[in-house]
Each structure stands twice: as C-alpha cells, then as structure tokens.
C-alpha cells in the first residue's frame, strides 16, 4: 500500500504541490492526468525523492517516512521499493541491455552475478528483448529502449512502478509496443502510477484516474466516472480539449 499525506513542494517561492493526499492499495493502477505544469511529474518524483518534497509523509509498503526528517536510509528504502520509468528512457548509455537490467541487482541488491543474470533474463523475456541482450541503448529504437527501461524498473521487484510520461518521446508508431508492455506488467498485479497524456490508454488500463491542476488534485474517480461524468468544470474543459487535439 502507498500513502501520501499532505505532500508540499516548493521551488524557492513557487508552490508546485499544495498538499497532496493519496492512498493507493496494492495492485491498483492509478493514472495521473493534467496539463503541463500541473505538478503531476513532480508528484511522481517526490515519491522516490528525485525531488525532495518540502513537507509531508510518504509511506510505501509499511515504511513511513516524514520527508522533513528523511535519513539516507529512508531515501534508499523508498527508492528500492519504487521503480521509475522515465520519459527520456534514461538507460545507462555505457551499459548493454542486459547490464542495464542487472546493475540494480548486482550493485544495489548485491546479488551474485549468475543469479542476477538469471533474473534479468527472465524479466527481459517478459518485455520481449532477449534478442538484444548485448546491444547498447544507442543501437535500439525508442520503443525498445523504453521496454528496457521498464525491465530495469521491474528488476528490483519494487512495490510500485512510477511511469513518467513513458510514451511522450516516442514516435507514434512505437507507442503501441510500449503500451502493450505496460499492459502486460499491469496484468501481473503490480501497483502502478502512470503520468500520461494517452487518455484512451489511461481510461482502459486504470483502476483510478486523477486529474491534477496547479499543484492540487482537482478530481479523482474511476475512469468511467472521470471520463463520462467529470464533476469539476476544469476536468471537463481539459478532457474535451485533450480529446479534440487527438
């Protein structure tokens, strides 16, 4: 279970997250929608401390961390219980596909090399990339890179996967293979947070959809509720605009 309590984030005097409260149960898939600058990516990055939240409490899998007094060990615990998939993939450029997935197991979890390799091969099989093990990221398409990114995030078997606009830098024809991979991970019962602009995908995959604007959660509900009967005026505007742009 994941719980965010009253998360605030300031950049200098700019207030980008204004008290976010969220409770997500195990296996739940939550999509976060909202215009750019609404704070949705920042929220995701506050969960694993890529951004240090200014105040609030983050709780993942029973580990409760008050962000203002978070120790290095707390941050480490949060980071190893989350797996992040980045918009720009951010694969380790100097490592092969296999090593990208293995490195968390060998250098963070201190697994033996052959054990780490076995696990990594299993995961790479799930994302369909066992034929690219010794390729470097520069030798892969964007879609393949992002699938490796998902494999790397899965490798540490995190409580929750955080997707930060996973398809936004992809060529349109490559989006589907990544969405298919995310779907197959979803089917395994992994808890997931997905920040996305793919409305149709969010509607289809999510258990819950959150609409954020200006650092607050404007509205949340099942995809059905949010997409067919949005309550807030802002949600209506956003959805009609976003679907018109499609």
């Amino acid at each position: 279970m994941i719980k965010l309590e009253n998360i605030h984030k300031y950049y200098d005097s700019q207030h980008v997250l204004k008290g976010i409260n969220l409770e997500v149960s195990k296996g739940e898939i939550v999509s976060i929608l909202g215009p750019s600058g609404s704070g949705k990516s920042t929220l995701l990055r506050c969960i694993n401390f890529l951004e240090q939240p200014t105040s609030g409490i983050v709780e993942i899998g029973g580990k409760r961390v008050d962000v203002e007094s978070a120790s290095k060990a707390d941050v480490f615990a949060l980071r190893t219980s989350t797996g992040m998939v980045f918009q720009q993939y951010n694969l380790f450029k100097n490592l092969t596909v296999l090593d990208n997935v293995m490195i968390g197991l060998t250098s963070v979890k201190q697994l033996k090399k052959d054990e780490a390799k076995k696990k990594s091969l299993d995961i790479l099989e799930r994302v369909g990339l066992t034929n690219r093990l010794n390729h470097y990221p520069a030798q892969l398409s964007g879609g393949q890179q992002q699938r490796v990114g998902i494999a790397r995030a899965l490798a540490l078997n995190p409580e929750v996967l955080l997707f930060d606009e996973p398809t936004s830098s992809l060529d349109p024809e490559l989006v589907d293979e990544v969405l298919a991979t995310i779907r197959s991970v979803a089917a395994t019962g992994k808890t997931m947070f997905i920040v996305t602009h793919e409305l149709q995908f969010a509607r289809e995959i999510s258990d819950r959809v959150i609409f954020m604007e200006d650092g607050v959660i404007v509205e949340e509900g099942t995809p059905e509720q949010l997409f067919t009967q949005p309550k807030a005026e802002r949600t209506k505007q956003f959805l009609s605009k976003a679907s018109r742009n499609k």
Binding site: N48, R79, T82, G83, I103, G104, Q139
Partner: protein, 240 residues
C-alpha cells in the same frame, strides 16, 4: 669540404638517448596516473561545491595555470627539501626522511603530477558535467550509492568525452618532461645535452632527440585513438 652534419655522430647518439626513454616515459606515465587522482578529486570538490576545499581547489588551479611549469619545477625541487627539513627541526616530524637521498626523479614526478592534475581537473569537471542529468537520476532511482553511480555510470561516460583532451595533455606532458634536466634528471633530453657537449655536436644530438620525441608521440597518438574507440564503443548506433 665543410659538413652540415656529422651524420655518424648523429646516428651513434641514438642508443644512448633511447636508453633514457624509461625515465621520460616513467615521469610522463607516472604523473598521468597521479594527476588523474588529483584531477578527479579536485573536479568532484568543485562539482559538489565542498566548502573551504573548493576555494583551495580554485586557488590551486589558478596558480598552476598562471605560473610557468619551469618555475613550478623549481618550487618543488627547492621547496620540498626545505619544508621537510623545517618540519624535522621544528616539530621532529618525518625523522626517517633523508632529504639528501631523495632522487630528483621524485621531484620531477611530483611537479608534473601537480601541474597536470590542475589542468586535468578542469577537463574532468566539464566531462562529468556533460553527462546527461537523466543518467544521474536513473542511477539514484534504482537506489545506487553515489560512489557506485560515479564509478559504474558517470565516470565511464565522462571518460569517453574527456579522452581526446586527456590525450592531448598527456602528449604535451611527454614533451614538457624535457625540462627535467634542469633539476638533474637525465632523461632523453638530458642525455642529448650531455652527448652534445661531449662531442660539441649540439645540432646533431637535438635532431636525434627530436626524432625520438616525435616517434614516441606518434605511437602514443595511435594508442590513444584505440583507447578512445574502445571507450566510446557504446555510442555507435549500429549493432556490433
């Protein structure tokens, strides 16, 4: 007939000059290794803006850049024995060190390491800063420690960026080692000078020594190209 060159003397001087190559190469390679440590350390201090140390690092780099290498060699050669002597007399430290028995090669190595370290620190710093922020974030996100992140992800990528510059500096250093004769190190240049004054044939020996430097630098350049290719192998877009 007056000869422009005493060719025989020129040719005969080669073996003696080449026999001093280990000194030249030893000082160049040794100071490269030491200066890499100094350079990485200084670069990290600046990147992480460590208080006090970053000010000292800036002064160090500025001083080395703003003074001639020749002066730096003299400072090390004359300064360090005096400092050791002073510490022995005033504080009773370093009693086991015998100032007079320190070989001039040691001072040369020190001076070149300190000199090259300052230049390398700037190259290394900009190379580390050129590594994509996303690489740092991805490493942090999977819980890597700062040390593991640096050693396994950031340094290898920074090195690939820095190698051409590091190589140029190393080649400059090889040539600059010709200065060490002034503190009594007999390197290839020192040997050439000795031979030249013995036979009163300076033009010949300097031609010989320049050929030795030239060939050495060509070999080093070739090796550097190989090293660079290897360090950048992951950047190639085509499947290997």
């Amino acid at each position: 007939m007056e000869n422009l060159l005493d060719l025989n003397f020129l040719i005969e001087s080669f073996p003696a000059i080449v026999s001093r190559l280990p000194i030249t190469i030893g000082i160049a390679v040794g100071s490269l290794v030491l200066s890499l440590f100094i350079g990485v350390f200084t670069a990290l201090i600046k990147i992480y803006k460590v208080p006090v140390l970053s000010v000292i690092s800036s002064i160090y780099v500025s001083f080395i850049r703003g003074t001639p290498l020749l002066v730096q060699i003299y400072l090390v050669f004359y300064g360090i024995p005096k400092i050791i002597y002073f510490l022995q007399i005033e504080y009773g430290w370093l009693q086991s060190a015998d100032v007079n028995s320190i070989a001039p090669e040691v001072y040369a190595l020190l001076a070149f390491s300190v000199n090259l370290g300052a230049y390398l620190s700037e190259t290394i710093r900009s190379a580390i800063e050129s590594v994509d922020r996303g690489q740092f974030e991805a490493a942090k996100a999977i819980g890597m420690s700062p040390t593991a992140m640096m050693l396994k992800i950031i340094f290898p990528q920074a090195l690939a960026v820095a190698i051409p510059n590091l190589g140029n500096m190393f080649i400059s250093t090889i040539k600059d080692t010709s200065l060490v004769f002034i503190i009594g190190v007999v390197d290839i240049m020192g040997q050439a000078k000795i031979l030249g004054s013995r036979g009163l044939a300076f033009f010949e020996v300097y031609i010989a020594v320049s050929i030795v430097y030239w060939i050495l630098c060509i070999i080093v350049e070739r090796v550097l190209v190989k090293i660079e290719k290897r360090a950048r192998r992951y950047e190639r877009g085509i499947a290997a």
